[in-house]
Amino acid sequence: MPRIEDILSTLRMVRQENLDVRCITMGINLAGCSDSDIDKTCEKIHSTIITSAEHLSKTCEMVSDRYGIPVVNRRISVTPISRIADQHDTEGLLKIAKTMDRAAEEVGVDLIGGYSALVHGGMTESSKRLIDSLPLILSSTNRVCSSVNVATSRAGINMDAVKILGHKIKEIAEASRATHGFAAAKLVVFANAPEDNPFMAGAFMGEGSADRVIHVGVSGPGVVKQALERLLENRPDCSLDEIAEEIKSTAFRITRVGELMGREIAARLGVSFGIIDLSLAPTPKMGDSIGEILNLIGVSKIGAPGSTAALALLNDAVKKGGLFASSSVGGLSGAFVPVMEDAILADAVKEGHLTLDKLEAMTSVCSVGLDMVPIPGDTHPATITGLIADEMAIGVFNNKTTATRIIPVPGKKAGELVSFGGLFGESVILPVHSAEGSLPFSNRAGRIPAPLQSLRN
């Protein structure tokens, strides 16, 4: 028998510390579904999704019961739709998106990602049409999520695309005015997008994968928080390296749970096991927050000097623990700072400690980027372009993935509260400083060239 303390500590992680598998995402290759006839295309997409994922929910439930660990979300990511829909117009794209929406519902999946385009090197006609359709698609489907990769460290930043997206994000929010611009929360703009990310809204199925693959997203800010609480109870003045060690060993255990369950789900479904994404993804639930961990490390007002360094320590320790636990770590893997989805971060915004500028600095050392950030509804599209460009530059010039999920909340001003409810949370709207001070820059067309790959000091 394993040691008694080991058994009880695993049990405590599940029962008291919110340990769960945050998502099981099945990647499905839709490359074979393209057809000049839109109805045939939709039919093929539908049948491919259904046959691939019909047992997904049941299998997740079975394995969840077996180990006593909840699988919170089941999701699907597909081949970027711009590759499938190159022969179709907006009407066709809407039919495809509706088909995805319906198929996801039929297999019991709450979100389906991959209404996506990769445009870092330039835009195909199909990608242009897809980006153009986003306001219509995201406001007229429930489960479809979209992402656009506009930059890579090898290709630089496609500012033409970023410029268009500045406008589109405004239009998407406006098209879902009734839900305070919620449709914009279903679009992620990426630099260096990972092709194996299981987390929404940015998941899509990359080229270099098997036809069907299971990716796992594990989380567990609550487990890390409680581990640190126990450490600090015994050693209140412990050093930062002791904190890093504690986070690392906790991350190891969280990753192991994910890999065990992911491998078993993949084996039972008879599909390949892909990656495990170890991201500390907070939820608005108390005890499930990145902000609380930063509080414990000693940053009581998140946004205060030291916040970036504390987050860097957390992010790095999480990765190191995860990498020792598994050779299949991939995806985004790091700590997320989605403002609306993390009650403590949202509080820091409300109290005025956490500003957009500081948040941007913090995203240079953690996973993703300006995520679930509500800004005033009257923000100029070129200002949104500027925000995206800054975040993309952080990713491109530091060889990491960054992303934005910005919501210009229609009809609301900075300081007003916006709530999406449930796991999407709420926050006060962040002001954008000197908002229109860079319009000529944002309005320039072209590309920001790729950075040096050597002489990196």
Binding site: P2, L8, R15, V63, Y67, R253, L260, R263
Partner: protein, 199 residues
């Protein structure tokens, strides 16, 4: 030729018991096959299996060990496996699960759970339980060997319900989860994708 016996010894824990026991076995020409020791609440217990010369009477073995360990007050019990009907289900495929029960101590919980397990013909391969005398906090951990054909989800629900009815938290989980979270060996080694049981 030799003859195998299984012997258990119990005494208040003191330094030197193991040395005395093994010396006694050596005197008797015994050869240890397997031995396991547990210390609990300052008491010491050993269970061992050993091969002895065939002409040696079992009474002689017990008497000699008792004599040799006299100063420790050791109680000796001997069983002859040939005279016992040991259950042999070794051919049936089983999987190892853990049942963990925690909460405020409730009398009779182990009885209720083991009755259920007995009814389902499930072997308890290891067990540890402790009640904290101050705050009455209780935990029980059972390692179970469950035949492949048992419906695990149904059993899980029934066992967890027994816990709930006594106001305790019972959790029934496949054993891999504990190995995965504490054993640094790769998951793919701990987990055999080819041998998945029915859930």
């Amino acid at each position: 030729m030799s003859k195998r016996y299984v012997i258990s010894l119990m005494a208040a824990n003191r330094v030197g018991i193991m040395a005395a026991v093994t010396q006694a076995l050596d005197d008797l020409g015994g050869d240890l096959l397997e031995v396991s020791q547990t210390v609990m609440q300052d008491y010491f217990t050993i269970i061992l299996a050993a091969d002895f010369p065939e002409n040696l009477e079992s009474d002689v073995i017990v008497d000699h060990i008792s004599d040799s360990c006299k100063q420790y007050g050791v109680q000796v019990n001997l069983k002859n496996p040939e005279e016992e009907s040991v259950q042999d289900d070794s051919s049936a495929q089983t999987d190892h699960y853990f049942l963990t029960v925690t909460g405020h101590d409730q009398k009779g919980i182990i009885r209720k759970i083991s009755a259920k397990l007995s009814q389902e013909r499930i072997d308890i391969t290891d067990l540890y339980a402790l009640r904290n005398e101050q705050d009455k906090a209780f935990h029980l951990i059972m390692e179970l060997s469950i035949p492949f054909n048992v419906e695990k989800i149904k059993l899980k629900n029934e066992l967890e319900k027994i816990g709930k009815l006594s106001g305790l938290n019972a959790t029934f989980q496949h054993g891999n989860i504990f190995e995965a979270t504490h054993d640094p060996r790769p998951v793919r080694i701990l987990f055999d994708e080819e041998a998945l049981d029915n859930v």
